[in-house]
Symmetry: C2
Amino acid sequence: MVTPPNSALFTDQYELTMLQASLHSGAAHRRCVFEAFARRLPAGRRYGVVAGTGRLLEELAGFRFDDAQLAFLGDHRIVDDTTLAWLAGFRFSGSISGYAEGEAYFPNSPILTVESTFAEACILETLILSILNHDSAIASAASRMTGAAAGRPCIEMGSRRTHEESAVAAARAAIIGGFASTSNLEAGRRYGVPTVGTAAHSFTLLHDSEREAFEAQVAALGRSTSLLVDTYDVEQGVRTAVEVAGPELGAVRLDSGDLVAQARWVRELLDDLGNDTTKIVVTSDLDEFAIGLLASAPVDSYGVGTSLVTGSGAPTAGMVYKLVSRQDDGGTFVAVAKAAKNKASVGGHKHALRRLDEHGTAQAEIVGIGITPASDGNDRPLVQQFVKDGVVLPGWTGPEAVARAAERHAQSIAELPGAVRRLQRGEPVIPTEYEEAAS
Amino acid sequence: MVTPPNSALFTDQYELTMLQASLHSGAAHRRCVFEAFARRLPAGRRYGVVAGTGRLLEELAGFRFDDAQLAFLGDHRIVDDTTLAWLAGFRFSGSISGYAEGEAYFPNSPILTVESTFAEACILETLILSILNHDSAIASAASRMTGAAAGRPCIEMGSRRTHEESAVAAARAAIIGGFASTSNLEAGRRYGVPTVGTAAHSFTLLHDSEREAFEAQVAALGRSTSLLVDTYDVEQGVRTAVEVAGPELGAVRLDSGDLVAQARWVRELLDDLGNDTTKIVVTSDLDEFAIGLLASAPVDSYGVGTSLVTGSGAPTAGMVYKLVSRQDDGGTFVAVAKAAKNKASVGGHKHALRRLDEHGTAQAEIVGIGITPASDGNDRPLVQQFVKDGVVLPGWTGPEAVARAAERHAQSIAELPGAVRRLQRGEPVIPTEYEEAAS
């Protein structure tokens, strides 16, 4: 596994000033329950997909206030010496549970729960939300795209349209959301996901003719390569590609124009030329709607860039991280929640399960407030434990976790009502219902 | 300066397969000119703001294929041994020029130009675009917000709504776009930008009463702190804040509800209580339009999160990186461009200046194709040299470059016609005009 950078200052300053003030008042040591959840899904979305938890658990190990971090905080007088001393000794010793990566989620699903002292949970806020909000936004978009692709492979190629590190995380989230591969090499290195890519227009333009470029590519990469045929004239490009590579040509890529019409006549042309096993890859500002429109066209795979890495209109999942329960001086846990207008929260430690009918189809997201909701036996518990008393439990990190999350995602979607695959705006495909202990 | 991680695999695989194929054909060694530009601005935007160049130049130093990178590429047979050997020895030896950070840009402005062999320029594509597309999107959104704020300070606090590394870059870009400070501590450490922050609702909820929380905060952080007053009841919150901190209370923060109405009566209440120097900070899903609507309210500063870090509707700048000119076998440079439908480009090495009238107001973006456009003396040249023969020139990197870019941004915006500050959708505030050598 690749060691992530020190993540301790991926933190909003107020977390450390709150730490200082709570160390001063003594409340820093109260046991707390913090919860990450989304008040709502992005407008019109029917479900969300959890991603990022594995990255979070990996970065938790690098969340250390080393000399460089402490010197910055001290030199700029961001916190006092008592706080610096506490930070220097910080190792997360609490517990973290929540929805596994790949799982579908709904409004108010308790996606991540952190149990520790206030001090320990408070300073993780920004790291937790940055990772979950970004990665879940991408996985949610990816899931809609792979749904629309209905089994045809989707290739993630959006690195250039997002921050260079986001690109790596986006490729990881795309795989969780059902993508088959990525163009991003660092994602391949870190997470063991399949990488692909052959050539761009610049390669054709570099050579004195399209034929010379194709000959160079086939000579270097073999006949099974994918040739980009739309630099000049698509029909001529296809004919030249077949002449150069012969019947073993792996694929042609179309990156402009009316892709539906083009894919049809390019397919016919390839077949007429005897290249009936040569595949057609399409790229060019695809999103889930464009993919849906291409369902009837003879396309073999979709390369998706911009709209994937920008969450297809919802670039952040909008999750928040709230204190929902804390001890009082007597050690009793008290549910707490902000009362502010338009941002009210539900206090209390949450537990959740997915209510299934007798056919195994999801009916509702049941969230228990302070209790584990009663299950009828078909229901599926949703909360997994990731960290116990500071120790990250095995199975939730590394490349294996990505592969497992992709499988889990497919199962989670298959369990939801069929309307989950509708791209039109609508309500969440299942409702969220609360259960409380009888008082 | 903080050492960035090895950036060599922030790269789409096709760059390395093109490298392999061009090494095989020999064309890899042809001198080339690649250009990064945006075919259009995001829908309705009147200008864009360049950002990221400094980060790119910093990461260029870490773009090295070390053992770990080479082992990955070799083990997965992504490229052949000849290509691995070339990559092992790679040091960028070409030249890079373009628009300085903070500068406004328009459709087809030649924002970055790379001159080198095909091999060297080709493999930088993804890193260049990732950085410029992300950072420019954020700086462009930031600029609209600071314009709407009309001198009131804007605070960047969006870290939690974007990838943890994007968050650092977003804070940097926000400062370039005119923001006064950020909540992101890593941005403070890397780029020397001012950081701020005091407390969240969880701090109030942690304590047994709002009064106890305020007392703890004031005891630890001083009377000049900012108290968040909307956890329970805003009026009571303000009264308690003033009782606890007295007339020296620095600020109150409002994070929910109707901010315009609330700011008015909170201002009156503060004044009535004798706290006429206590400031009002507003946060809560602000964007440039919300900031504009708050212009008439007695607000002292704006905290902006989600909509800043997601580019306020345009999360990527949509720049592309295209081969525009290359040598032929005789050593003569030939302008090249893709002819594909809906994505045609203009070939040729570009030069640019901003045409100014006698009052110093910008009239047009003049792009010379293969020539430096004729200037009437008022016009301002736009292209700066950043890298010469592999050496990064001084002044374009580090914290100093950020501060200088923020100044440049203010000057660049001041030079544009007044319509630049209109938030409504419209055309670019100046047109882009091409000049070519007489043939």
